[in-house]
Subunit: 423 residues, 2 copies
Amino acid sequence: MIAEIIAAGSEMLTPFRQDTNSLYLTARLNELGVQVAFKTIVGDNFEHLTGAARIAISRADVVVFSGGLGPTEDDLTREAVGAAMGLKLRRDTEILTGMYKRFAARRMTMPQNNSRQADVLDGAEVLENANGSAPGQYIDTVVGRHRKIVILLPGPPNELKAMYEAECRPRLAATLPERHMARRMLRMALIPESQVDARTAPIYKEYTDVETTILAGHGEIQLHFVCAKASDEEAQARVDELAEKVEAEMGEAVFSSHGESLEEVVLLMLGLRHMSLASAESCTGGLLAQRLTAVPGSSRYFLGGAVVYADRLKTTFAEVPEEMVRTEGPVSEAVARAMAEGIRRKTGAAVGVGITGIAGPGPGAPGPDADKPIGLVYVAMSFAGEGKAKVVELNLTGDRERIRLWASQHGLEQLRRGLLERT
Amino acid sequence: MIAEIIAAGSEMLTPFRQDTNSLYLTARLNELGVQVAFKTIVGDNFEHLTGAARIAISRADVVVFSGGLGPTEDDLTREAVGAAMGLKLRRDTEILTGMYKRFAARRMTMPQNNSRQADVLDGAEVLENANGSAPGQYIDTVVGRHRKIVILLPGPPNELKAMYEAECRPRLAATLPERHMARRMLRMALIPESQVDARTAPIYKEYTDVETTILAGHGEIQLHFVCAKASDEEAQARVDELAEKVEAEMGEAVFSSHGESLEEVVLLMLGLRHMSLASAESCTGGLLAQRLTAVPGSSRYFLGGAVVYADRLKTTFAEVPEEMVRTEGPVSEAVARAMAEGIRRKTGAAVGVGITGIAGPGPGAPGPDADKPIGLVYVAMSFAGEGKAKVVELNLTGDRERIRLWASQHGLEQLRRGLLERT
């Protein structure tokens, strides 16, 4: 059983906009055991859309359209699907009456164009739109000797999602063979994808009934496991068994065994240890603090910190000796250590983290940093009552954005590893 | 002349990954006057990929593939295009020799599989890959009576982009009729899209030779103008004329008339006024600082600041009186004002900005904030030598992420408007 998702809309054929509904729809269809084999993006062009519809209906069992159900002349999905499937449109009086009522309630006259939204394909069920005016349509029919399910959904994500949940999922679930899927995700930071694959492939390849996907990006590796079985328990048991074996192989590199983000894990670990955290950031400019505070409830364990971009502020906010900044340079092991220790003392936190580096594209400031390379970053971590802060030197590559992101990622991963050692 | 972009790779048919290369390719093809009419995403499945290739070559003049050129069994683009076009593959000894040399230089043995990357379609030109091992291919041929250009590019964005620039753009430009395109983008913050459209549509609709696109999101409205003419000057004159009329209508709401980001504009304005800036953030948790420091060279005008998440730090870092936090609550006009003034004094900056609010999902802290609504945010701005800081009260809607983003957006927009008044 394979599906095709067709996103209709010329704006998604510009350099500025992407179809995102298909990610949501893919997740939902996968849950029902339907694999998405094709995604097509096509503009508001009757001929193109009709051609794409015809192809999709011939090569997929389930075809889901998003967009093109509005009232304007550019909204052509109804007509195109009709042409592709040889189905006529009839104007549904019930829908039309509802639309007139809604306009009347707002003391507005309904523009003539809007009545097109009441056009329904022969044999289609009308899907109610809880969040907008364009109804959806659901066709379950036989083309040639093949059963085809064709679904027309509106483009705005909130309308599409609500309509899928309320109207499509129950219909599809009743139609398709019962499926019980289980998922697990393991996450690792700052480890090469090739290493993860080399070490885990011998394990996951044994589980031919579990689909394993490795995704890498932004300093993180994700291992997704998906399994479908006759019961939820059976499926869960398989993904859990595989996840546990992979976790045993990768050990402490796995920061999350149920999908939590690195930020969430660090905050959770701080909570379990009744420790508070403060940060002093130079090259990351608040990125670490921003990532931590994006997590709801982070205020319980993250006190805050300082963005010490100007050298002077390293002294004001993180008690770094002025002399040290001058002689060692703001990007130095000594300054990173002083930042972590200083911000911890200044805020009374149990843990202080300090990050300083050269994010580029310009070189380090004149003075001791002038010849230090772009991508040189120091991450320091200071624990109350433990003496000198530990410092890690990094040599990161890439542009400013990547260096800042990876520096913050190293900051979080150092914290996690540091907390792990302090159970 | 229409194009189709085919992204090959099963990972892009999961709920986790999207094709992004097509945005880049669309911009580049548009520059040459080629409109993208279809985008197809297809998995690593020979039959599906061959079918998609056949359809694309029949309905588009230019077909660009991304992905599927690697050495593994899943990399099927070469074979599929060959099958779709009836072209044989030959193993190119020059490519093969190069590959052996690269492996030898790293003292490694080349895995047998890798030699597949040396397979070239009959009649194809080989496109050198400056950033990776998989070469691209370029086919300019006639199918039936129609000229077809078929391009095979590697999937990794850095490889694809470099190869397009160096190898494809010159070939396409030499083939296609000369086109001169000009673009302009106007950006506005925190203004409803409907208002922008109502005020600007009467203007841009007069310019039928300029394509206008309005995009809204993340507290920003973008107006894109694109025009193609016989010469660069003519095209530029048209988009400039339209942009100037729209800018005159929208006035100070336009923060950027050549595409600069709001952060860049604020930093530029600070620079022109020889002013420095510091921030004290509570609910945004470093997001404002992070956005400013993401801009290269920001250190010249942004000194840094404090993330004063814990109440105590509002006093330590921003000199907010403890008593005030207790009586007014951390989310109050008084505290926002004190944060802006305090961080300015403490850092010696010319401008201080303070942001405090309730980002949710939990309610305000017990005490004076307990009954304040989620989304209540205060943004304060203090200018040296001007007395009391100005405070704006916001009532934002949405989830934690949206409230934080909009709060930071308001912070930047307040700064811009404040700086505008101080020319």
